[in-house]
Amino acid sequence: MNLSALSLENAPRFWTPLRFFISVPVFGMLAALILFMDGNQLLQSRWHPATLALTHIFTLGYIAMGMLGALLQMLPVVMGASLPRVERSAFLMHLLLAAGALSLVAGFLTDLRLLFAAALLLLVPVLMVFAVAVVLAIWRAGTAGATARAVQIAAVALLVTLGLGAWLVSGYAFEGLQVQRSLTDYHAAWGIIGWILMLIIGVSAQVIPMFLTTPTYPHGFNLWLVYLLMLMLSAGSLLSFAGFARTVTVLVAVLMISYAVVSLYLLARRRRKRFDVTDRFWRLGMLCLIGAGGALLYDVLGGTQMDLDPTVLYGLLLLAGFAVSLINGMLYKIVPFLVWLNLRMPVLKGQVPAGTRLYAPNIHEVISARPMQLQFWLHTGSLLLLLAALFARGLWVYAAAALLLLSNLLLLINLLRAARVYSRCCKARNHP
C-alpha cells in the first residue's frame, strides 16, 4: 500500500470536511420544519409525500452528509487511501449533495416533475462517483483491514440504493414511465441495512475502541456481520418463495440486536470513565437499534397488530434514532479534534522552525461540555416525543418538532463556535 498516504499531510484541509458537518444540523432543522408543516398526517403512512420528504432529509441531508464528510477525512489518514483531488471534488460533492437533497425534498412536497429531474441530475453523479471512488481508493491502497473491507461493501450497497432510488425517482420525473412502487422496499432495505448500518458496523470496529478506550470487538465480529447482512440483502432481493422474506427479516433483526448488544457491552467497559457526550449519543443510538430490531421481530412473529404503519416506526428508530445519534456523537469527537489538528498542522508538517511556540487551544476549549450535554438531552427528548407522537397522535408531534428544531439549532451553534475558534486562531497568527 502507499504508506506515505498515511501522513496527516494528506488529510484534507479544515474547511473541506467542515462544510459537510455544518450542513448536517441545517438539514436537521429543515426536518423539524417539515414536521411542523404536516404534523400528524406525516406519521400515519410512509407513502405520505411529507413522510418521504422527511425520510430523505434525514438520509441524504443529515446522514449521508455526515458520513461523506467523515469518510473524506478518514480514508486518507486511517486507511491510506487517498482520493484524487480531494479538495476540489469535495467542494463540488458538498454542493451537489446539498442541492440534490433539497430538490428531492422539494419534489416530494410539491410534486413538480422538474424538481425530481433536478434531483436525479444532481444526486446520481455525486453519489455514484463517491461510491466508486471509495471502492477503488481502498482497492488501490490494498488496505486489508476489516474496516476498509466493510466500507467497500457498504459503498457497493450505496450504489444499489442509488440505482433503485434513481429508477423510483424517474417514475416521478418522467411522464408515462411506469415504475413498480414495490421496489421502494428494496431501495429502503439497501439504503438502511446496506449502506448505513454496514458502514456504521465497519467504521465502529475501529472508532469505538479508539475514541472511547473500550475493549475491541471480538475478532472478525464486525466483518462477519457485514458479510451476513450483505448475504441477507442479496438473497432477500433475488429469491422469493413462501416464508423466505420472513426468515430473512428475523435474521436481520437478530444481527442488528447482536451488534447493538455487543457495542453496549463494550461501551460499558470503557477504560476511561470520565463523562463523555459521544459515549452517551452512541449508547442512545444502540438502544434505538435494539428497539428497531425488537419491533421488527414483534411484527414478523405475529405480535398483535399495532395501530400504525410499522415501517414508520422502523424508519424513526433506525434513521432519527440510531444513525442520527451516532453521527451527532461522532461530530463532537471529530470536529474539536480537527480544529486542534489543523491549528497544529504547520508544526506537524515542519513548516515552522523547530521550537516555535504555536498556540492551539486544547480540545475541551473548542466546544464546552455544557452545551453539548444540553444538546444531547434535547435530542433524546425529541426522540421520545416523536415516539409518543407515533403512538398517541395529538399535539405530541409539535412538541417533538420543537425539540428537534432546538436540538439541531444548538448543534449548529456548537459547530459554528468550533469553527470560530479555528478562524480566530488563524487570524491571530496572521496579525500578531
Binding site: 504508506l3 470520565r274 479534534f337 486544547n362 475541551h364
Partner: protein
Amino acid sequence: MPTISEFFSAQHRSCDALLGKMEAAVDRDDWQQAEILFDQVRAETLQHFENEEQGLFPLFEQATGMHQGPTQVMRSEHAELRELLQSLGAAMQAHDQNAALGTAETFFLFLQQHNVKEEQVLYPMADQALQDSLSALSEKVPGFAAGS
C-alpha cells in the same frame, strides 16, 4: 518471543489504561495520586517511543529501504506527542483541573490516531520484514525477548 504487533500494541493498551486512571484521579481532585500516575504515563510513553525510534524504526528502515516513509511520519508525531506531554505536565503541576483534562484528552486523541496507523499498517509490515531480525530488536527493546 511475541510478535512485534503483539508486543508494541500491548504497550499502547497499557498507556491507555494508565491515562484513564490518571484522568479519574484528576477528576476527583486527588492530585497526589494523579501526579504519581502522570509520572508513570510519561515514563511508559517515552520508553515506548524509545523502543520504536531506537529499536524498531531503524531495523524497519534497514530491512525495507524506506527511510523517508512511514517511520519519518511517526517520528514527527512522536515529537508532537512529547510536546503535549510537556503541556500536560505543566497543567498537572499547576493543579489546573480544566487544563489537565483538556490537554489529556488532546494528547489521548492524537495518540490514538497515531497508534491506529502503527497497529494497522506499520507493525504488520514490520512483522513481515523483520522475521529474521527479532533478536537484534530484542537487544534494543527491554522486555521484548521475555514478551512482557
